[in-house]
């Protein structure tokens, strides 16, 4: 049994001088999907950003057992961390092809400046992206800002999947999408999770049930529960208590986690 691909120990994150994530610790195993759950505004997105160094942070972040919390964001990403941000964040003024070209990384295979591996794009990954998102090839010359939400999500996922990664950090990929597109995004993530572990922030419990093996529940910036996804979703009382969702079913399927009275997530 291999060790966790990602370890987070005592992570805190600050936004505009205010601490929004407090002493968060969890591990992500080397396979499968680990879902980060919690009401809106409890610090899920900030946790992902803190792992990447996109916000002010302290604490330890280990990738494959190596501490990376002192490194810049781009270095961490080149170690093999694919990031699909909340709200897609495609480059609206760039074409689809340019968005994808920008995301392609060159592997250095241990010859990077720090001597560490830098994972990049391979022909195999390009083929995978072409197979998963044939529509993007047809829209290669279209400006990303003119795409629909679902198409922009494809671009955002494709950017991450173009490279060899050790882990994918995916933040609310189904947010604001039509039910049919939600299913397609979930299928894509399921396919990706066959080869790379995924840390997924998700509000849609149906998607969580479909994809996740483990869950980390955050409330008010702290981890309040970790364990198998099935165990949580099969316990309506726990779902109600931890996520504020009244499922009316045994799984919570189809429910969306409610908004907390807490501060904004970002």
């Amino acid at each position: 049994m291999s060790g966790p691909v990602l370890e987070v120990r005592g992570l805190t994150a600050c936004i505009a001088g205010q601490e929004v994530v407090h002493d968060v610790s969890f591990e992500v195993p080397a396979s499968g999907v680990t879902a980060v759950l919690g009401r809106n505004g409890v610090g899920k997105t900030s946790t992902l950003k803190a792992i990447l160094g996109l916000v002010e942070r302290s604490g330890e972040v280990l990738l494959d057992g190596v501490r990376v919390d002192a490194e810049r964001t781009d270095r961490i990403v080149r170690r093999g961390v694919g990031y699909v941000p909340e709200d897609r964040e495609v480059f609206a003024g760039l074409t689809v092809a340019e968005n994808l070209r920008l995301a392609e990384r060159r592997a250095t295979g241990g010859r990077g400046r720090s001597g560490t591996d830098s994972r990049g794009t391979t022909a195999q990954h390009r083929e995978l992206v072409a197979a998963l998102f044939p529509e993007l090839a047809r829209r290669a010359a279209q400006r990303a800002g003119t795409l629909s939400g679902g198409q922009q999500q494809m671009v955002s996922l494709a950017r991450a999947l173009l490279n060899e990664n050790r882990i994918l950090l995916v933040d609310e990929p189904t947010k604001g999408l039509a039910p049919k597109i939600v299913g397609e995004v979930a299928e894509t993530l399921a396919a990706a999770a066959q080869t790379v572990p995924v840390l997924l922030v998700e509000q849609n419990l149906q998607v969580v049930e479909r994809l996740a093996e483990r869950v980390v529940v955050i409330d008010a910036g702290r981890v309040v529960h970790t364990g198998p996804a099935r165990e949580l979703l099969d316990d309506p009382e726990a779902v109600q208590r931890l996520l504020g969702v009244s499922t009316g079913s045994t799984t919570g399927a189809g429910s969306t986690i409610s908004t907390a009275e807490a501060e904004a997530d970002r």
Binding site: L52, L54, T73, D74, P85, F91, A92, E98, L102, A103
Partner: protein
């Protein structure tokens, strides 16, 4: 009629100079959010060093002018890259400190230039063609205006091609939109910062040498005076918009020339009023993105 032609032609030439300074300011602000008050220093240094290089082979020859333009550009690029690496990079995301550093550098560099080359303007030697005029529809247009417009058009085309067809251009265009996301794709955006400073510095250095040809002198203060109008152009065009800077350069320079002639030397006042009007009606500038 010939007076109007002359004013329009010289206005376009002046607009070319404004654009050479404003293009760098706009790119730097667009990507990095840095208001670079030291940009005029790159222009002045480029002018002095470029002219010194031109003098080695004869500033009144085409070879001397070409050498001066190349050396002026390279000097501006080197000074800008060193400024970015030494002074701006340690202060990323601390915009007030960055402004203070660039203001300090601009003041200190003028004092340095005065110490080296003296405080007073120095006359320069130019090629015969640049000292003369060409008749256009009855107006005798100074040839320096043609040179300025040509250089500005070449720089605009060069920067557009660089932004559109190179990987660094792609990084810069993406970085202007969302710098954090560029780093989250594994890209060291700091290299793009240095490159943008260097490209802006090269344009300013080129503008410095060209300004000496139009003014017929070189002075430690020429960068400061051009920088003020370049900033106005950058704000009117829209901070971060290269096309906006090009359009605003022409509009500001033409207005200035026309007002100076027809409205009793009120060109500077008219330009400031235009700036106020744009800030009131369209604060993001003619082609800038709304905040």
């Amino acid at each position: 009629m010939s007076t109007l032609i002359l004013l329009l032609a010289t206005g376009l030439g002046l607009g070319g100079l404004y654009f050479l300074v404003a293009s760098g300011l706009s790119l730097i602000y667009g990507l990095m959010g840095v208001l670079n008050f030291a940009h005029g220093s790159f222009l002045t240094l480029g002018a002095f060093v470029g002219l010194a290089a031109a003098n080695t082979v004869g500033a009144d020859t085409w070879g001397g002018l070409a050498l001066g333009l190349v050396v002026g550009s390279l000097t501006g690029a080197a000074a800008a890259a060193l400024t970015e690496l030494g002074l701006i990079r340690p202060l990323y995301d601390r915009h007030i400190e960055q402004v203070l550093v660039t203001v300090g550098l601009s003041l200190a560099s003028v004092a340095l230039f005065e110490g080296i080359w003296g405080p007073n303007p120095r006359n320069i030697t130019r090629t015969d063609w640049l000292t003369s005029t060409t008749e256009v529809l009855g107006a005798r247009v100074p040839n320096t205006a043609f040179l300025n417009v040509l250089a500005a058009a070449a720089v605009l085309a060069g920067i557009v091609a660089f932004l559109r067809f190179t990987r660094y251009g792609l990084i810069i265009r993406a970085g202007v939109e969302n710098r954090a996301m560029v780093t989250a794709l594994g890209i060291d955006v700091r290299r793009a910062f240095t490159l943008v400073f260097a490209v802006g510095g090269a344009a300013a250095g080129l503008g410095g040498v060209l300004a000496t040809q139009s003014l017929n002198y070189v002075s430690p203060h020429m960068g400061s005076s051009l920088l003020i109008f370049a900033f106005i152009v950058t704000v009117i065009g829209g901070m971060g918009s290269l096309t906006g800077a090009a359009v605003a350069s022409v509009v500001v320079a033409l207005l200035q020339q026309l007002a100076n002639y027809y409205l009793n030397n009120t060109g500077d006042l008219i330009v400031v009023l235009l700036l106020a009007l744009v800030l009131l009606v369209r604060p993001s500038g003619l082609m800038g993105r709304p905040a």
